[in-house]
């Protein structure tokens, strides 16, 4: 039971962290290596919220807005010029991540920031005491997933985004402003990343480099999922489950790399995600 809950909640956390990256990879067809930095930005938005005396939950909307706005600036200045150079876009976003990390360190200091948990304590679930917050993450992942699905399937922007994913030239020849679609997508993806950063604060220590550890795992999951959020959910379950199992039965250290290794092997056999990149 404990194992099952661990698997489900790990999958949920991975999904929340990766979904923003998926949106950007699908529409803009680049891997945003600054994703980790945006997680960090989000976490520090929560820090700011607490310092301003607000409810820690207020960090969520602040982070989404801040992340989206900064994402817009990044798309215009850094991503757009590198439209035709996807490998260089990886490098430039990595550089951006370094810059952001150092700026945060300069502003807030290198030390770990302590902020009150959004939620704490345990609850009894079917004969097991389990962390309330991790269970909450299950609902958070579902909520975000549903909202994401509704946006992409139901709104005009979502339809335009799907069109751009499938065939950008055709979309342009129908009069769709593909530049605007890309910008909007990047902003939403960045906002989601920052949001995820806030949600991570009770689970991990908040310091200027906290996001990097999540980057590789998120990135591998997105490569496996390609453009489908359902595939992402499945990937999070499968690989998250593997991570938990390996951590529990083999070693926690090896568990940490199981997502990356398994994803790399899967992609070698079935390079779905890479056929477009």
């Amino acid at each position: 039971m404990l194992l099952l809950l661990d698997i489900l909640t790990t999958a949920a956390i991975l999904f929340v962290v990766s979904v923003g990256l998926l949106a950007i990879f699908g529409v803009l067809k680049i891997v945003n290596f600054a994703h980790g930095a945006w997680l960090t930005i989000g976490a520090y938005c929560a820090v700011v919220a607490v310092k301003l005396g607000l409810n820690p939950w207020a960090g969520l909307p602040i982070a989404f807005v801040a992340g989206a706005l900064l994402g817009g600036v990044a798309e215009l200045l850094i991503i757009r010029p590198l439209y035709r150079r996807p490998l260089d876009a990886i490098l430039a976003t990595w550089g951006l991540g370094i810059v952001i990390g150092q700026l945060i360190a300069l502003a807030f200091g290198r030390d770990v920031q302590l902020i009150p948990n959004l939620m704490s304590g345990t609850v009894r679930v079917l004969s097991v005491d389990y962390s309330v917050y991790r269970l909450f993450m299950l609902f958070a992942a579902l909520a975000i997933g549903v909202l994401f699905a509704l946006t992409i399937e139901g709104t005009r922007l979502g339809l335009s985004a799907r069109a751009v994913i499938m065939n950008e030239t055709l979309a342009r020849s129908l009069g769709i402003d593909t530049d605007r679609v890309r910008l909007a997508t990047f902003m939403i993806g960045a906002g989601l990343a920052a949001l995820a950063g806030v949600l991570l604060t009770p689970l991990t220590s908040v310091d200027p480099n906290m996001g990097v550890a999540w980057l590789i795992g998120a990135f591998m999951l997105v490569m496996v999922a390609d453009t489908s959020y359902l595939a992402l959910a499945a990937a999070c379950l499968v690989f998250g489950g593997a991570q938990v199992l390996v951590s529990t039965f083999v070693s926690p250290v090896l568990g940490g790399i199981s997502v990356a290794v398994l994803a790399a092997l899967l992609l070698r056999i079935n390079p779905r995600g890479f056929s477009r990149a």
Binding site: I98, I216, M220, A260, R268, A277
Partner: protein
């Protein structure tokens, strides 16, 4: 017909010597500087620079992989770390006698090379993408780091290994050793990239498909390079373990790997010297800064990195190159080889069937592009394939040249089935393919492109550039008739469209393929250029006994040169026969004027 063996007088022998003198002299000077420096530098500087020079060696390997071959890799750090750990672990657990030291060195070379083979096999396969290779190069260091963390006492886990016996050298000794290794590796890399074999790297980067269709497996080049450079990184790691006396997981991690990429980018990818100087400068500066400055320094570096990637992809070296070019009006003479006539391959048996296609079918999902194609072609035939757009002509050519295409049916070349063979192996059966859009190596000169086309006949030298370029008669004829022979020192990217087509044809003919597949060779050419190509093609089949399959839209051209015409319509072979019969037939008229649709 050329009887003379030397059509173009190459440069005098003194130029070749000049090729050696300049870099050798520079290396000698650098070695001297390395030797003298410990006498003037303080202990701190010497210590830091010893490490920096080993990092610079690593940067050279990354530049070879990324700048020259186009493989963005974060994994060289892992090979470096494996070498370092292998050394430290041997010293710690097995002993530090000279025999064990030698064993450690051997291990530090062999183990990374074995890992390089695994990484190479994972990253480079028919159909792999550069992004995937980069992904693997990211995952690999992470795996290595985690393995180190979980190694317990054997690897020292997060504390690393320290206190083992090292080579009996003092600070000056290690400085000189590291420096000389750096100079040696840089010199070797410099010589290699300027040699004929070194051009293969650029060829793979520019156009790996064309490489495959010249019989050179790009995957083999990439894997071989990865393995070799893994060994070099291992040596650097060995020296690092000895010089610093401590190895830690950070020496294997992907953060270190990204740092090396940053140094190479800032220094200038593809310039070798740029990365070396950038690494030395940045690493030394990073170590020298104290207080809060290191963090500001990281910020500046990160910002510089982003700016360089976007605005100055060639890095500082690129700037320097452009500045010096404008100042010195640089006469960067590329050696021009002398073109000579190559002895032809064995004569083709005229009667044997060269190409046999039985029941070929190809569909994409539910869409059937080719259906039940049966065709037999003998040496000496010039067969034109005509048909409206979407009839399946290019797909047919693809199925005949790339055995990894999932088609049904049988295709035999010279009696050998080619299903499942990658393009480079199909080329080995005697097939040459010319693409509709001229597929050449834009960064290389015409001569270098032609030389690469001869790779399967004459292994290119890894040290220098051969003074003579042997080409078969057909290639030379193309060069002469099109005037390309006067442009053999010109970069291929600067040629006009017609010249690029001619170059590609020259390259394909240099393979001396028995069966040549041409996809719309006259597209975009002037009338005169068409006539030239037509002459050459006719001559190849009539006298040299080649077989040519030609996909064409220009029916006048088809009528002039073909011996046989095959009509493809909606994926099926509709007509196959002598030129006049087919061209004048009712069926063809209807197809081309719009009627006759299903």
């Amino acid at each position: 017909m050329p009887e003379d063996t030397a059509l173009l007088n190459g440069r005098p022998a003194s130029t070749t010597a000049l090729e050696w003198r300049a870099p050798a002299a520079a290396a000698l000077v650098a070695a001297l500087i390395v030797w003298i420096s410990p006498l003037v530098l303080g202990a701190f500087a010497a210590n830091v620079l010893t490490r920096s020079m080993l990092y610079a060696t690593l940067a050279v390997t990354v530049d070879l992989l990324w700048g020259f071959t186009g493989i963005l890799t974060f994994g060289q750090a892992a090979f470096f770390g494996v070498g370092a750990y292998a050394t430290a672990m041997t010293m710690t657990s097995l002993g530090s006698t000279p025999a064990w030291m030698a064993a450690a060195l051997a291990l530090a070379i062999v183990l990374p090379m074995v890992l390089g083979l695994v990484v190479g096999w994972l990253s480079f396969y028919h159909g792999s993408t550069p992004l995937y290779a980069s992904v693997i190069s990211l995952v690999f260091p992470i795996v290595v780091t985690q393995l180190v963390y979980s190694g317990g006492l054997l690897t020292g886990s997060s504390s690393g290994l320290v206190g083992y016996d090292t080579l009996p050298l003092d600070l000056e000794g290690f400085f000189r050793l590291s420096g000389l290794v750096m100079v040696a590796v840089t010199l070797a890399a410099w010589v290699f990239v300027r040699s004929d074999a070194g051009k293969l790297l650029v060829a793979v980067r520019d156009n790996d498909v064309r490489c495959a269709y010249l019989g050179v497996s790009p995957r083999r080049v990439q894997i071989t390079l990865t393995v070799a450079l893994a060994g070099v990184a291992g040596v650097a790691g060995f020296l690092f373990a000895h010089a610093s006396g401590v190895v830690a997981p950070e020496n294997t991690g992907f953060l270190f790997g990204t740092q090396v990429v940053i140094w190479v980018a800032l220094g200038g990818r593809g310039s070798l010297l740029g990365p070396v100087f950038a690494t030395l400068a940045i690493d030394y500066l990073s170590a020298s800064l104290s207080g809060d400055l290191p963090f500001l320094w990281q910020l500046v570096l990160g910002a510089a990195f982003v700016i360089i990637i976007i605005f100055l992809p060639d890095g500082v070296a690129g700037l320097a190159r452009r500045a010096s070019a404008s100042i010195f009006r640089s006469s960067k003479q590329t050696r021009v080889p002398r073109i000579a006539l190559a002895a032809p391959h064995s004569a083709v048996e005229r009667s044997a069937t060269l190409l046999k296609v039985s029941g070929l079918a190809r569909s994409f999902g539910s869409l059937s592009v080719l259906e039940n194609i049966n065709l037999e072609i003998r040496p000496g035939e010039l067969v034109s394939i005509v048909g409206p757009n979407g009839a399946g002509k290019t797909t047919l050519i693809r199925c005949l040249s790339d055995g990894s295409e999932p088609f049904k049916g049988v295709v035999e070349i010279g009696g050998k089935p080619m299903k499942g063979l990658t393009p480079d192996r199909v080329v080995a059966l005697g097939v040459g393919r010319k693409f509709q859009v001229a597929s050449i190596f834009e960064s290389l000169t015409v001569a270098e492109c032609l030389r690469l086309a001869r790779t399967t006949s004459e292994t290119p030298s890894g040290i220098g550039s051969a003074p003579r370029l042997s080409l078969p008669v057909a290639s030379i004829e193309i060069l002469r008739l099109t005037g390309l022979i006067d442009l053999i020192a010109s970069p291929a990217g600067l040629l006009s469209h017609g010249m690029k087509q001619a170059l590609e044809l020259g390259m394909v003919l240099a393979l001396e393929p028995r069966l040549i597949l041409l996809d719309e060779p006259t597209a975009g050419l002037t009338k005169a250029e068409r006539a030239t190509i037509g002459t050459v093609l006719r001559h190849l089949t009539a006298e040299a006994g080649y077989a040519i399959i030609l996909v064409e839209h220009d029916l006048d051209f088809v009528r002039e040169i073909s011996s046989r015409v095959v009509v493809l319509h909606q994926g099926r072979l509709v007509l196959d026969g002598a030129v006049d019969d087919v061209v004048n037939s009712e069926t063809v008229r209807t197809i081309y004027s719009g009627g006759g649709h299903v």
